[in-house]
């Protein structure tokens, strides 16, 4: 009986998964998933999964009971919360919960992302139990029958009780042997993500939304690849500072832009806290491409070449400007001969997030 419902429920989840996969590009370009996120799951609105039937629309109305005058709103019916609307398409929507791991899996399948080969040794260490040894006490469920028998036999032979004609071996308590485990420490690789963003006046809300969406998908993927992940946020205008996630997305400054300040801060944090031989380091920088003069562009390039790129697995730059910016900074970065580690993309609108993610994460690093 149980298998039956498990199979039907499994089939249902498979269908949901198919829907999510089909509509991944749409989900990636709208903010729908963010804000519906729990600790390790997201709630995804999936359209058209129930069985369509000829049925009545919204102007059916009904009969209720309670207090109230004609014209009063029906209690419990908030604006727009009515059950299903008339003729707008995609109104029958179901909320399904998908774990972040599953989402990452779907993302990988759809974008053909290779698994990441971690570098570096472990800092985080996980424990695995292996039953490899024997001891004299333990629970009966772990009793090692053969060893116990052997001990009993040995004892009987030594004390001369053993009779080969009638070989009866009766183990005592002292003869009993139990399986026992040894805890092995297995190194796990770990990773840190640096998100850097330009918060100068030229970065609008649309740009920040793009950054937020891109970062969500990067997070989802990297979290599925590493057991432990740390995320650091750096904002900069003319100067850089480290902030928490909320401040990162909500700060708006009016000053100019000196990108090298962020790279310098990132370098400093890495030097202090994240030795490159132990950490998988990811850097993601988003800006609209405006920078304070070409001197600073060169300074950034130097920082990248000498410090950031050697230390990190991947350093990605996303230019989120819609138009108007000069491409000088972008071309400076593109001139750096590190095609495997330094990736740059232009993300002028939400629709290009999909391709940017594919580029950033497609290297398997």
């Amino acid at each position: 009986m149980v298998e039956r419902i498990e199979r039907d429920a499994g089939r249902f989840r498979q269908i949901v998964r198919g829907h999510v996969k089909e509509n991944l590009r749409k989900y990636m370009s709208t903010g729908e998933l963010i804000g519906r996120q729990g600790k390790d799951w997201v709630s995804i609105p999936v359209p058209q999964i129930d069985i369509p039937r000829f049925r009545f629309g919204r102007n059916q109305g009904g009969v209720g009971q309670g207090e109230g005058q004609p014209g009063d709103p029906l209690s419990g019916s908030e604006a727009g919360a009515g059950p299903g609307a008339g003729d707008q398409p995609g109104q029958h929507i179901l909320e399904v919960e998908v774990s972040l791991d599953q989402l990452a899996e779907i993302l990988a399948e759809e974008l053909e992302l290779p698994r990441i080969q971690p570098k570096g040794k472990a800092q985080v260490i996980s424990e695995v139990n292996r039953y490899t040894s024997i001891r004299k006490v333990g629970p009966e469920s772990l009793r090692h029958f053969k060893r116990t028998y052997r001990e009993a036999l040995k004892r009987q032979m030594l004390t001369g009780i053993y009779d080969p004609v009638s070989p009866r071996v009766v183990p005592f308590r002292e003869d009993r042997r139990y399986r026992s485990w040894q805890t092995k420490l297995i190194p796990e690789s770990n990773a840190v993500i640096f998100y850097m963003m330009d918060v100068s006046g030229s970065m609008g809300d649309t740009q920040k939304e793009i950054v937020r969406l891109t970062a969500f998908w990067i997070d989802t993927w990297l979290r599925s690849q590493y057991k432990k992940i740390e995320v650091r946020y750096i904002i900069h205008d003319a100067a850089a500072r480290e902030v928490d996630q909320k401040t990162f997305y909500h700060t708006r400054e009016s000053g100019g832009t000196i990108i090298s300040s962020a790279y310098e801060l990132c370098r400093a944090i890495i030097a202090q806290r994240y030795p490159a031989d132990q950490w998988n380091i990811y850097g993601f920088h988003f800006s609209d491409g405006d920078n304070w003069g070409s001197d600073d562009n060169q300074k950034c390039a130097a920082l990248l070449r000498e410090h950031l790129l050697p230390a990190s697995n991947l350093f990605c730059y996303g230019q989120v400007a819609a138009y108007r910016s000069s491409n000088q900074f972008l071309s400076t970065l593109r001139a750096i001969p590190e095609p495997e580690k330094l990736l740059t993309a232009e993300i002028p609108n939400k629709d290009s997030i999909y391709d940017a993610i594919k580029l950033f994460l497609g290297k398997g690093k």
Partner: protein, 495 residues
């Protein structure tokens, strides 16, 4: 799954059966099964039947129920199916007082299933029948593949409300008079001529061709179906270009739809009847002083009104009580209706004591429509503060529309008509002589939900394999024809 009940519950089941019989309830043997919440959610997802064909919609229902159970949003109090013997499920984690309440409630349902006329045609061995359906569908899955069968079931379920709920009771398909008897039969006219000229004036092969043309015309004039067919499922099973197994699957779904239809027709009465009896049995016989509070708590939970919505348990229960009181006190008939002295009406009591007898009669012959039509009174609407509500597109919310008795009754009856489903019939199976399917929605003031309607048309197309049309009406747009031709949806105004 036929696990015996723990002895205490078994003893109570026995006792409560005794009380129910003492009150005159008449039911087949009821078998209780004790399940944990997972089990009961599972059985409930399958509509109470442990063995049914596989389909993802059951899985979806299960996920939904498990989730809302986990969040404490709802739990299933009782689950009982209309079979002989009757099977009912108890949630193991419920406390004893709940179990007693549920058992009393279940005996009410069992009595209703057995005695209400609208259930007379249902198959009481449905447990076996459902299992047989499952076996057959499994065989088709093995033979034709999971996806093919699943796709067909998707389609079948999407149209399984297009049945003729009255057909088990009556013989429909009245035949219109034969047109041949009405008018002079058309024949090929010969031009009069001399005999030796006849083969030139009326060449035989020309005459033969004309005759054939006339025959073809009468054939085309013949309607198909002869009269409009409410049982769309049946029409498809008989006339759609289906493989044998496909027709069989649709036929099984149709049978199950007919089996469940009476429960849609008698929701208010059935729940009202069961609630009436659980409250009667519990308060008159079962409850000890210590249990009263818990009972009151759970009873009020089942009949509570949630945010202005009408609870069928509550409506049915109160209507039945109202009927009982009115017939006990003789508050019916012409004399009472025509009396306009309010104080006299309020104290009207002829001490007839006909109430019990009357409600047993009601449970035998009425379904929800007749019940509401006959017994919903203005007094009752006032006493229970009923109102109608409707969607206000301007404020984007539901608003109380009226407290007028006639409006309430009309609204209630409207929502109960055709077990709450739109009335849709096949008008033409050979529309514009191109083998297209033409359905007509009998529009009673409420529009169809358009996105669903379009998807359903696409599903109909999958079975009919020719373009399908649905004639309906839309608010502010008048009569409208929705068409799906295999590629695109077309919407056309008809007038």
């Amino acid at each position: 799954m036929t696990g015996g009940l723990p002895s205490e519950l078994a003893r109570w089941a026995d006792k409560i059966r005794g009380y129910a019989e003492e009150f005159g309830l008449d039911f087949p043997e009821v078998r209780f099964h004790l399940l944990d919440w997972k089990g009961i959610n599972e059985v409930a997802s399958y509509g109470g039947f442990p063995t049914r064909y596989p389909h993802w919609s059951y899985g979806m229902e299960y996920e939904r129920m498990s989730k809302s159970y986990a969040y404490g949003l709802h739990r299933i109090y009782e689950m009982v199916i209309n079979t002989d013997p009757c099977h009912a499920y108890l949630l193991a984690s419920n406390n004893l007082i709940d179990q007693k309440l549920v058992m009393a409630h279940v005996y009410g349902h069992a009595d209703f299933f057995k005695n209400n006329l609208w259930y007379a045609h249902t198959n009481r061995r449905m447990l076996d029948e459902m299992a047989n359906h499952a076996t057959r569908i499994y065989r088709y899955i093995e033979r034709y593949g999971y996806e093919a069968v699943e796709n067909l079931i998707d389609v079948g379920l999407s149209i399984d409300n297009l049945i003729d709920i009255h057909s088990p009771g009556i013989r429909r398909q009245p035949r219109p008079p034969d047109p041949a008897l009405e008018a002079e039969p058309k024949t090929v006219k010969r031009i009069p001529s001399k005999e030796y000229m006849d083969s030139f004036v009326n060449p035989p092969d020309f005459l033969a061709a004309q005759k054939k043309r006339l025959e073809d015309e009468t054939k085309q004039a013949r309607r198909f179906p002869v009269a409009s067919e409410r049982d769309v499922m049946l029409f498809l099973v008989n006339h759609a270009p289906l493989e044998t197994w496909e027709a069989d699957v649709l036929d099984m779904l149709r049978e199950e739809a007919y089996y469940f239809a009476p429960q849609g027709q008698t929701k208010i009465m059935n729940e009202g009847w069961a609630s009436f009896w659980h409250s009667t049995i519990m308060t008159r016989r079962v409850l000890s002083d210590a249990e009263i509070i818990d009972y009151a708590d759970h009873h009020s939970g089942t009949v509570a009104m949630h945010s202005g919505q009408l609870n069928p348990y509550k409506l049915g229960l109160e209507l039945l009580r109202d009927v009982e009181e009115r017939w006990d006190k003789g508050r019916f008939g012409r004399e009472y209706d025509e009396c306009d002295d309010r104080t006299r009406k309020a104290t009207w009591d002829l001490k007839l004591g006909l109430g019990r007898e009357k409600i047993f009669e009601v449970r035998r012959i009425y379904n929800d429509i007749g019940f509401v039509d006959q017994f919903l009174t203005e007094d009752f609407c006032e006493r229970y503060k009923l109102f109608t509500y409707r969607w206000n597109p301007r404020t984007e919310r539901y608003e109380i529309a009226s407290r007028d008795f006639a409006a309430i009754k009309r609204q209630l009856l409207q929502s109960l008509t055709n077990f709450g489903q739109p009335i849709i019939a096949v008008e033409d199976g050979n529309y514009s002589n191109r083998g297209e399917l033409y359905l007509r929605h009998q529009h009673e003031g409420v529009d169809l939900k358009l996105d669903y309607a379009r998807d359903t048309l696409a599903n109909l197309y999958a079975v009919w394999r020719r373009p399908v049309h649905l004639e309906t009406a839309l608010e502010g747009k008048g009569r409208t024809l929705l068409t799906f031709d295999g590629q695109a949806h077309i919407q056309k105004r008809l007038d």
